[in-house]
Assembly symmetry: C2
Homo-oligomer: 208 residues x 2
DNA sequence: CACCTATGTTTCCACTGTCAACTTCTGCAT
DNA sequence: ATGCAGAAGTTGACAGTGGAAACATAGGTG
């Protein structure tokens, strides 16, 4: 005896509900293969209603990916802001924030970088904000004299590649201790820092 | 005027043909979303025939991914074997082979590491052979005294993460010069070598 | 030769993404 | 207030999908 369909004809905020529902469904077994009809079902609307807000399923996925990039940018900014003073600790904080973002949003992360995304998506300003966070921090580090003076975009690429790779390997369960030893993430971060910092020994402790 | 259906009832080698066809279709727009029915169509058999060889589509994709790991292992072995003497050049050769494998087999590479793969797949011996190539090379480098004496599995994780990340960013078109400068791949490799090698300056030329 | 089993085929089902036509609201100009 | 255009939702269709079931054929073994 649920309420006898006093649901209004117009949902009022369907677009948002569709996006939220879809993001939630991303982390279910089906992943991004979730069904548009099931989204509609959970939102309590007819199976064709979503088409009033998104031309097709790909458009919905693209929108979700963009939201993911915005969240990532916020997470990175927070991660570097919450670190001890100095560009290198900020970089470490940002790296940990990146990894945690991936671990907390596995399917979303995969969607953002996965196949099927429009190539131009990654180049859009909305998606590039996260990359700019890294570049800004590296520039600051060079200005402080703690990051080696090299082309900053190359360094950023190295950072991003390392973070991206670590995140995905972790998501794939490839960083299990039995395969890669304990503290593989820390080890990889150390290698990265040793490649970037002017005085690695100052930041990387315990060469064990 | 094609031959009037002299096709024998039994295909003879359907399993192999299905796998080959599927691998070929992987690099078409649909990617791993290719249709099992289309595979059957191209193989010239009925749409249900593939089910005699694979319990479902996921099983076919898993088999393909395993084949991919084997090919990757071969490519890595060849890449290091074809390099100048010494563990560090071999490592560089292996790195380039890794990147080229990804660039040459984008969809296959994504499939191998993508979501939806059984977690246990990556842990299987068939898939871990590639990882062992890296570990063996690093051990050799440490024995030669050219790779820093650190836990080798951690170093391997760093290598793999960097390669994995670079490969995927490249596939996503994120390493375009306009975003990341020229030679981003080389820059990232340099950072990695500077983090691994005992005497980086000996291997990494041109700081600037 | 007869028959068992692996491999293929046909037929069927529930379900999907998407479209078109229809209905019901909401907002705005009058 | 009124009336109407268009946005937002609904219903019902369609072709195509993955998969199951039942049937057909062929090759190999007694």
């Amino acid at each position: 005896m649920t309420s006898p369909d006093d649901r209004p004809y117009h949902h009022g905020d369907l677009r948002r509900v569709i996006i939220d529902t879809a993001i939630a469904m991303l982390d279910e077994p089906a992943g991004p293969q979730f069904t548009l009809r099931e989204v509609a079902r959970r939102a309590g609307v007819s199976h064709a209603a979503p088409y009033k807000h998104f031309p097709d399923k790909a458009a919905l996925l693209t929108e979700i990916a963009l939201i993911g990039f915005e969240r990532l940018r916020e997470a990175l900014a927070a991660g570097s802001a919450g670190a001890p003073p100095g560009a290198v600790p900020a970089l470490v904080g940002m790296a940990r924030a990146y990894l945690e973002f991936g671990a907390s949003n596995p399917a979303l992360y995969r969607l953002m970088f996965g196949a099927g995304m429009d190539r131009s998506l990654h180049l859009s300003g909305r998606a590039m904000g996260a990359f700019d966070e890294v570049i800004g921090l590296l520039e600051r580090g060079q200005a402080e004299g703690v990051i080696r003076p090299r082309p900053v975009r190359g360094q950023a690429a190295a950072c991003w590649a390392q973070m991206h790779g670590l995140t995905l390997l972790a998501l794939d369960g490839l960083l299990l201790p039995e395969k890669v030893g304990d503290g593989a993430v820390d080890a990889a971060l150390s290698v990265l820092l040793e490649g970037l910092a002017v005085d690695p020994a100052r930041w990387v402790q315990g060469h064990g």
